[in-house]
Every structure is written in C-alpha cells, then in structure tokens.
Symmetry: C2
Subunit: 344 residues, 2 copies
Amino acid sequence: MIIAPITISDIAKKSKVSVATVSRVLNDSDKVKEQTKEKVLKAINELNYAPSDIARSLSRNITNTIGVVVPDINNPFFGQVIKGISSVTDKNDLYMLLCDTDENEEKEMKFIEMLKRQRIRGLIITPTADNDKFNAKYLSILENLNVPVVLLDRDVKYSKFDGVFLDSISGTYDAIECFIKEGHRKIAIISGPLSSKPGRDRLRGYKKALTMNGIEIDDRYIFYGDFRLESGYELSQEILKMEDPPTAIFVSNNMMNLGCIKALTEANVRIPEDMALIGFDEIELLNIMNMDISVVSRPTAQMGEVAMKILLDRLNEQKIDNQDTKRIILLPTLILRGSEKKEK
Amino acid sequence: MIIAPITISDIAKKSKVSVATVSRVLNDSDKVKEQTKEKVLKAINELNYAPSDIARSLSRNITNTIGVVVPDINNPFFGQVIKGISSVTDKNDLYMLLCDTDENEEKEMKFIEMLKRQRIRGLIITPTADNDKFNAKYLSILENLNVPVVLLDRDVKYSKFDGVFLDSISGTYDAIECFIKEGHRKIAIISGPLSSKPGRDRLRGYKKALTMNGIEIDDRYIFYGDFRLESGYELSQEILKMEDPPTAIFVSNNMMNLGCIKALTEANVRIPEDMALIGFDEIELLNIMNMDISVVSRPTAQMGEVAMKILLDRLNEQKIDNQDTKRIILLPTLILRGSEKKEK
DNA sequence: AAAGAAAGTGTAAGCGATTACATTAATAAG
DNA sequence: CTTATTAATGTAATCGCTTACACTTTCTTT
C-alpha cells in the first residue's frame, strides 16, 4: 500500500510560487509577503501537506532523531527513565528510536550499527556489557558513531563518554549507618555480582560504613547474589539458617529484595521485629500494599531527564574540540519506613 | 559536534569504481565481479562506512520505521506489548519510533502528525480517546497518514482500521461463571468507566454471565471506577460497608485490583475465606509474593507481536484496494489460584 | 522622476543514495 | 578472427527538500 505523498512542488504549483518560497514559508526563514504566505498556507492546508523530514534531514545534513538503547523496557526503572527522556525530547522536536537489547551484547552492537545508518544525532545508552571481553570492540563501535553518547546508570571501562550515574556507594553507606545508629551490629549484605560496577560499589559502601563506625567486617555476613529474585530468596534462607544470624539485612537491588521479603515472610520472620531490612530501589507494589520497607531510592525519571539534557547541550555545542567529559552522579535518597528499626 | 560521515562517493573514489557499483555491492542488486566487490568491501571496511538510511529512504521513497504510540510505557501491559512488537521489527529490519502520550489526546494528535513527517511506513497505536468529542478530527488525522494503522487493545469508533483486541466479554463471563459454580450468588463488580470499550465490555460479560445462569442482576452490586488504584480502594471500602455485602468481587483491571486488595487487607478481610476475588490482568509481583489471586490473564506480548505481524502483512501487500479489515480478537485465560473459592 | 536600497521571489546546485539506460569488457559462437 | 552475446561497469536523472545567489519589484530619498 503505497500512496505517493504530497510534495513541496505540489504546493508550489498549486499556490503558483516557487518551491523556494514554499520552503521559506515552511521555515519562516526569510521575508515572504504576507499575501503570498497566505496563498501558500492555504494550499498546504487544502492538500494536507506535511513536509518530509527525510528530505529535510538529507538536505540539512542533520536528523532529529536520537537513539535510546536499554536492556529491558519491562524493568520499571527503564520505563521511568524513558519517561524522563521523553519529557525533554517532546519539547525539542526530537524523536526517539528505541531499542531493547534484552541484556544481549550481540544484539546491542547490532542496534548501534543500525542507529548509525539512521544517522541519529545522539545516543543514550545503558550498556549490557561491563566485561573486558567486549570492551575494545564495543568502544570502537561507539566511537565510530561519531555522535555524542551519554551513558546511563552503567559505565563502560576506559571510555570518556558523558554519563549519568548514581552514587551507589553513598546510598549504601547511609543505609548501613542508619542500621548502626539503630543499634544493629550484626549486619548482613546480599550483594550483587562483583563483575558489575553497581554490585561492587554497593559492597564498598557497606564495608566503608562498617569500618568508619568501628565495626569489624565479618565475611560470614557477606552474601553474593546475581541481582535476580531467586538469588535473593535463596541467600535469605541461608541467612536464616545461620548459627549466629545478623539482626539486619541490606539487599542490593529491588528484585533480590523481593526474594528476601518472600523468604522472610514464608519463614514467619517479622520485619523489623525479628529482622531489620533495607533494600536498594523502590518497589512500588510494596508501598501500595502498605508493606513498609525502607529503601535507598533512585531518582529514576530524573536520571533520564538529566541524560537527555546533557545530550541536548552536546547537540547545541559549536566546537568539536570540547573534550571535557560531563559525568553527573546523582544521589539516592534513603527513605525510612520503619523496617530498619531495632526493637528490643 | 558535527562530523560529516563518509558517503558512498568516498567509497567509490577510494575503490576506484563508480557510485553505482558501490551501491550494487551494498545491495547485492546486480552482478558485480568478485574482484571488484572485494575492493569495494575493503574500502567500506577501512573507512568504517555505513550507508545513510536517510538518503536511501529518499531515493527509494520508502522508509523502514514504524510508529508506536502508547498511553504509558510504565504500565507493565504496554512494556510487554512493546517487547512483542520488537520481536517482530528486529527480524525485519524495521525501526520503532516510540511515543508516550500520557493519556493526553492533544499530545497524541501532535505525535501522529510528527510521525507523518517522519514518513513512517505504518502505525501501531493504542488511542487515548474513545469519546465522540475528538472522534471526527482524530479519524481524519489517522486516515490522513495514508499508511496502514493497527489499533491495539482500544478501538476507535467508526473506524475501519485493523486491530488486535481482547475479548473482554468472554474473559469476564468466565470469571463470573466460575464464581457461580463455586456457589457464589451475591457477586459484585468494580467496573471501569463506561466511556471506554473495555469498561463496557467487562460489565457486559458480568451481566451476561449472571443472566445466563439465572441470577438476577442487582444494581447495588455494580460499582463504577476509573481504572485507577484509588478508585478500586475506595469502592472496595464501600462494598465492605454494605448491609448485605457480596461474597465475591470481580475487579475490572489490575490497578483497581491492587486497590481492592489493599482495602481488604487493611480491613482484615481474608481472601477468599471472607471475600472471594478475581481480577482482570496479571499482577506479576503478587505472584512473586505468593499472594494467590485468580485473574483473567491477557497474552500481552502476543498482542504486540500479532499487531506487528498484521502491520507487516499490510506493508507487503501489493494492491491498495484491499478493503477487508483484519480484526484479531484474542482470548484471555482464566487463571485460578484459589481466591475465587467459596469456603463455608 | 531617477537612482539606490530594501524586500520579495525564482533558479539551480546539492544532500547521499538508487536505478534506468548507455557503454565497455569479456566470452562464446561461427 | 570477426561478430553476437553476455557480464560488468559507468553516466546521469531522481527522490523532496534547503539555500546561496541572482533577479525583479517596490519603496525611499533627493
């Protein structure tokens, strides 16, 4: 089903002017006599004409699309992030080409190459890979795009791209310190995998908080999960079986936190009477269900918004030689709802 | 930051052939001597050239982007739908321009006009408005796109676009009948707004099931919400206050269902011992938390996939005169987890 | 009323590809 | 060794816009 759309020359013909004049009316670029302008607008209206962004992009040699590459749209975090990005693109006449990589490196690289052909003006990306295996190839593909890139939430080693990240260390630090102030001394952490930066950082925050408060780090209380629900569930069960169990648990992300809550609930362990708990990332449902779990909360939509604003600035920059990387590190908020308490 | 990308003529120059030959290599369109081909590929490789889809679209007079317009990416339903759409676009070299209308009619119409300028090849859309106020204008804007349109989940009055919908009537019918078989006679419904087709259909299914089973419809048991959590919460509280309360509640969507569960939980009403419950749409997190609530479940990702496949068929169609509208109506599944039971 | 300035409009090249048609090179047939 | 075929490549128009430059009107000004 192909119907040739109306073109600028149809309008020119109908309103008896040249295409140049029509173009001027379209872009308000030069003085056009009021009377002529009306004629042209009338023709545009009658024929329902909409100029082709394709042709416009080609002749101006610049597009108005930006690429957004995320690992999983179904993750509420990225849903929010995309909302944040949209809020900026909407106001700036930019379009969003969305790619969902499914946490698959190959797919991701393929998408980036597709986006290059689409001549996107800029890219916001949450990379899948943080391992050395792909690093070199990955970097070269990104560099090769030759457009501004803004990393979101996940960093890429050895890169000097702009980025918006979250201070996981301080977020975790605050949570642990809060436990300590409550009187907890035996504090466990369900950490993420150390192959990911957020995983590493959250563990670091944990250790730092203990050390700074003169509490010795006890390796028995450190558990390594993989950010997925099941690992949170299983590790929590292990914790409950310990001889000298902790009185508080910090869980490094929302999915593992759910797993942990599930395990505690099933074992009839009350929160916080029997076990105090703080997790990383909000879980909307828990709030709805009045389950008061304290969390380290990230400003998700804001992260998308800030990323897009950085990108926008780059797009408006004149000089190419601007080498200073902009890396924004947002702070999470510790939201206390009572689950951190130590009841005697 | 604008760096002129490599063009086809750079490749032509470097490999000492004409642009036509390079194009042939790029598209495998005509016989090219093996030796020449290699030369060209080598140049492409060395210069890291990627052909411009913009220029290609212009000269072929056809793009490879499709528009996807949804009311809210954060709604898990649409997240899943987008995944379904992606699964098809990925395999067919199509790009997805994503627009989030925030349930705002004005915004939606603006997006459609933007997409027209982008010369999208087709559109998948879940319209915000189902009211007569916008209908005429809305239809004309969609028609004016002159590309195949596939409606998703929500219909547009008087339109003859293709579409993928869900049989809300039968889904609700089954749920209510299930209640009846369990022995329930006093069954309440928290309906959606009647201004929306899903709202109307679900209420219709409810009434039909009662009637077909010889149970009189009692208007006191019909409550009208707005699909949002709060209304589910408040209406449930009303239900609990009734003199002659129902023994079972059917809730017309996931958000109101959460509201209902919240109200029941707060009032210490046990499910299903004190009140049986079936909702429309899965709530993933409830399952994780071992809260066994029976639901009418929709094949969400499949809806996106089917919609995209219909669109794909349209894109591949030769003749323009194909007037037969394709409307697929998928069936929901009643998933029983025990919350529908009537305990004595 | 003539000359110069300003305003309005048109002509045509160019953006980076595709492709019909023309041309040349290579191979087969006589 | 021509000539007819076929294979390989090149030339140039085209897609729908933008825009530099040229040209024509329409004021101003004296």
